[in-house]
């Protein structure tokens, strides 16, 4: 293998624009004649809308449109990636704090803001449900109108769906120890630094939408369906998002913008504030009961998992998050008997959606913590019990699904080594180790087109959204490798549904694998064409020519593909076009509708100490090792892993949304909601990868980028437990929570305190 481009870490495609301020995000784009939109909301989660008086707003100079639900087609159109449950504007009743009742479009942002404040919404505040217990209370109001859930046996409850996965015989299992506890995972928000932004412009050829979206093609389909236009008349332009993390996968306010643009006959733009962004997307919180049976040697005999995830009022993609996130809830271990029951529960809170890890971090927190409690009771350490149960390569550890696709022992041993697992621990320090696993995509479809231009330069068309992961760099590396063209002669085009062929979505760490394979296929199509060209140009039989990795091998030597191209194209010039496609077919009989294309597996090992006086956790060492198959770009892999690890420290140590009794987020915005800063870093972050070229992607790559977030929390909590003796089962591990646990122990000196 030559590996001239792949396996190196060239400068990021798009990097220059990012360091000069030239990179354009949606909010940086202005259209002639544009109107500015501001949303009209009420100051509580759930309210009955009595009337909307727009007269004062319409008198504000510059106001061109005040849009209410009455101005939309009736019944008000609804949309969503899983269920058509979300109305374009609130109908009759608001369901979450921040749900718009109306929207104003004006010549200036100031005028729009002023007019939005003057739209008078007469309403009656109603009691919301904003906790799992509240939503499950038989007396709780129904969040969704049962009429929206026709034929659904659960329609008269706030349970949107229940997912059950079961194998083996739990009752027949014999165990030396059964450990059972409940663990809580907080509501957290994505906090991409770029707030969501949307532009819609009507035109002779339909509608154009600009959005900071991860899935432009899915958005195109949603908009086309809502406004009744063919796909070819809805163009979605998706500039690189300024961070997304799942929060920008699916339509939010693009449908409203589309209807406003059509009504106003002018372009409309809406740039959310950070507060509005907090109210637009979040991660499912969860309460998870885990019951694990263990033999005295640490081997798992059975496990029951009951996971309740709290959604907002509209599903977005969250029910899928619950189903797909809980399915591998047992982790990468062999568990002979298991019952997993996961419920998606509706509430009057911010609509939850995908967030890095896609439902896995919640159940991982619970199950890995429970395993540590079992280990402690049996006198085993965290590493021993994990190695005891860890699936071997090829083992069908998850019934119905892809067998273990890596040497996972290698990953675990490397993480243990990095953290110095077997070395002496300083007094007052503790160590923890945990594993996280996440399924790659279960279905997928990516198209790619590669154009080999007359001067030997290359255009790659690939619809992946480059939201920080650096996908265009990877794609350029692959094209460089296959076509033998240097990176500075390759351009990757993305972000425009009228120009770039279909890609299902940018999620589940799929792009290097699926789009990468599509690009390879497109390049191989070019190879076939170049082989014929070479045969013709050099008077050979095509059988005598072999094209590979940028070179045509002829009987009497090698010719760079660029030379073949130029010889073949002749004086007329032109180009060669290669198309490629990668599909992951649906499997209707599978509980998730398809097996995992690959697994993302990470091991996180932590050394920590706790300040007795403040309850603050000091992370001494944070080691992360991911099985990536092959690191196509080692620097980008490291950037993704370390970024995921530090993001994971957020929900582990500090992040949680707090609701009041009106269903409002009390810590709304950057002052009261803390994410990790440069001063919150572990003293040492050590990251490494395992590369056995055993993935289904280009050159043996697997998807990566979510793994190092999955199991941060249980590893930190285990280290805190060892350092202090206190067990905490609610995240985040805030100084207050730890201090209170330490204080309780000081006052009632039992050997172990559980908070």
């Amino acid at each position: 293998m030559s590996m001239r481009s792949v396996g190196a870490s060239p400068r990021r495609v798009g990097g220059h624009g990012r360091v000069t301020g030239q990179q354009q995000y949606v909010a940086d784009i202005h259209l002639p004649d544009e109107l500015h939109v501001a949303l009209v909301t009420v100051d509580c989660a759930r309210a009955r809308i009595i009337s909307v008086d727009r007269s004062a707003a319409e008198r504000v100079p510059g106001v061109r449109l005040v849009m209410t639900a009455d101005d939309l087609p009736q019944p008000v159109p609804r949309f969503g990636p899983q269920f058509r449950d979300r109305p374009v504007l609130a109908v009759g009743e608001t369901k979450f704090h921040g749900e718009p009742v109306a929207a104003v479009a004006a010549e200036t942002k100031d005028a729009a803001d002023e007019a939005a404040r003057l739209v008078l919404v007469e309403h009656e505040e109603l009691p919301p449900v904003y906790t799992i217990a509240g939503a499950l209370d038989p007396a709780a109001p129904l969040v969704q109108d049962p009429a929206l859930r026709a034929g659904d046996a659960l329609a008269e409850s706030n349970v949107l769906a229940e997912h059950r996965y079961e194998w083996g015989d739990i009752e027949a299992a014999t165990s030396d120890l059964v450990v059972e506890n409940i663990y809580a995972f907080p509501m957290v928000t994505h906090f991409a630094i770029e707030p969501h932004a949307f532009i819609a412009a009507p035109g002779e050829e339909g509608l154009t939408i600009w959005s900071s979206i991860q899935h432009p093609y899915w958005l195109q389909r949603i908009i086309a369906g809502l406004v009744g236009l063919p796909l070819a008349r809805v163009r979605v332009i998706a500039p690189d998002p300024g961070g997304a993390f799942g929060g920008k996968q699916h339509a939010k306010f693009e449908p409203l913008m589309a209807f406003m643009a059509l009504r106003a006959g002018r372009p409309v733009r809406l740039v959310l504030s950070l507060e509005e962004t907090f109210q637009a997307a979040r991660r499912n919180s969860a309460e998870i009961r885990v019951r694990t049976g263990l033999r005295s040697d640490g081997s798992i005999t059975f496990r029951e998992i009951h996971a309740d995830y709290l959604l907002g009022p509209y599903a977005d993609i969250s029910d899928r998050v619950v189903g797909k996130g809980s399915y591998p809830g047992n982790g990468p271990y062999r568990v002979p008997a298991s019952r997993i029951v996961a419920r998606a529960i509706l509430s009057h809170t911010t609509p939850s959606t995908a967030f890095r890890g896609f439902g896995a971090p919640q159940v991982n927190w619970a199950v890995e913590s429970n395993l540590d409690e079992g280990a402690k009771a049996l006198g085993l350490d965290g590493l021993q019990i994990r190695l005891r149960n860890l699936a071997r390569r090829g083992e069908k550890f998850l019934p119905y699904d892809t067998p273990a696709d890596g040497d996972w022992q290698q990953t675990v041993r490397r993480a243990a080594e990095l953290v110095g697992w077997d070395t002496e621990l300083p007094a007052g320090h503790g160590r923890g180790i945990a594993l996280g696993i996440k399924l790659g995509p279960t279905t997928g479809l990516s198209h790619a087109t590669v154009r080999f231009l007359a001067d030997g330069s290359v255009l790659v068309f690939a619809g992946t959204s480059d939201m920080g992961q650096g996908s265009r760099t990877i794609f350029a590396q692959i094209a460089s490798e296959e076509m033998g063209v240097p990176l500075d002669r390759i351009t990757v085009v993305s972000g425009d549904t009228h120009v770039v062929p279909y890609d299902q979505q940018t999620s589940a760490a799929r792009s290097s694998v699926l789009m990468g394979n599509a690009i390879i296929e497109a390049c191989r199509s070019l190879h076939g064409q170049l082989r014929d060209m070479a045969a013709q140009a050099y008077g050979l039989d095509p059988q005598e020519v072999r094209v590979e990795r940028g070179v045509a091998h002829l009987p009497d030597g090698e010719v760079p593909l660029v030379e073949v191209l130029q010889a073949g194209l002749g004086t007329l010039g032109g180009e060669l076009i290669g198309n490629g496609m990668a599909r992951k077919e649906a499997e209707p009989d599978h509980p998730l509708g398809g097996t995992a294309a690959f697994y993302e597996l990470n091991c996180t090992a932590i050394e920590a100490t706790v300040d007795d006086e403040t309850g603050e956790v000091v992370l001494v060492r944070h080691a992360i090792v991911s099985d990536v198959g092959r690191a196509l770009n080692p620097l980008q892999v490291r950037m993704q892993d370390e970024g995921a690890a530090i993001m994971g420290l957020g929900h582990t140590l500090m992040e949680h949304l707090i609701y009041d009794e009106s269903g409002r987020i009390r810590n709304l915005g950057a002052i009261d909601y803390r994410i990790p800063t440069a001063k919150d870093l572990p003293l040492e972050v050590l990251s490494d990868v395992v590369e056995n070229a055993d993935g289904p992607g280009p050159y043996g790559a697997k998807g990566m980028s979510e793994g190092a977030l999955l199991c941060v929390a249980p590893a930190v909590a285990a280290a805190v437990q060892q350092a202090t003796g206190v067990v905490i089962r609610d995240l985040p591990l805030t100084p207050q929570r730890i201090w209170e646990a330490l204080d309780e122990r000081r006052r009632s000196p039992s050997p172990e305190v559980v908070s």
Partner: protein, 158 residues
């Protein structure tokens, strides 16, 4: 009270005379009046640092400074770093070290780091973390940003 006032300031070395709304921030004026969209808007409460610019010699959250307060001052934004297409050592280091992922926080990180290096040409890791603590990045673990600032400092001391 007047709704607008005239201000005179220097933006990236060029003197500008502008009529600004009195309630508009320096960030509003940079982005919407001058079209300098490299400076980013996120939290608008001075916590995230995406809008960091340098006013005279100090890093400032431009969302917290009214445009009229910039009257008579010298403002530098990310667009003022590279000269004639030539990246500064700091920009070059951000590029080389892989500091930028999505890139949205990077203009603010660059300006905060630039202000640090002008004051303190040989910073420690702790100095860098302290100087950039007000610049949130959600993509990275801050490692490559820190490495880039230290590498640029070394380059600039040569």
């Amino acid at each position: 009270m007047p709704r607008t006032l005239d201000v005179e300031l220097t933006v990236n070395g060029a003197p500008r005379r502008l009529e600004v709304h009195v309630h508009h921030t320096l960030l509003d004026v940079l982005r919407d009046q001058l079209g300098l969209t490299g400076t980013k808007e996120c939290c608008v409460v001075g916590e995230c640092g995406a809008c960091t610019v340098i006013v005279d010699d100090l890093p400032v959250n431009s969302c917290l400074m009214l445009a009229v307060e910039a009257d008579g001052h010298e403002v530098r934004s990310v667009e003022g770093l590279a000269r004639a297409g030539e990246l500064t050592p700091l920009q070059q280091a951000f590029l080389d070290k892989g500091a930028a992922q999505c890139g949205f926080c990077i203009p603010g990180q660059l300006m905060a780091a630039q202000a640090l290096l002008e004051q303190s040409p040989d910073p420690t890791v702790a100095d860098v973390h302290e100087a950039l603590a007000g610049n949130l990045c959600r993509c990275s673990g801050y490692e490559q940003i820190t490495e880039a600032v230290l590498a640029a400092a070394e380059e600039m001391r040569r």
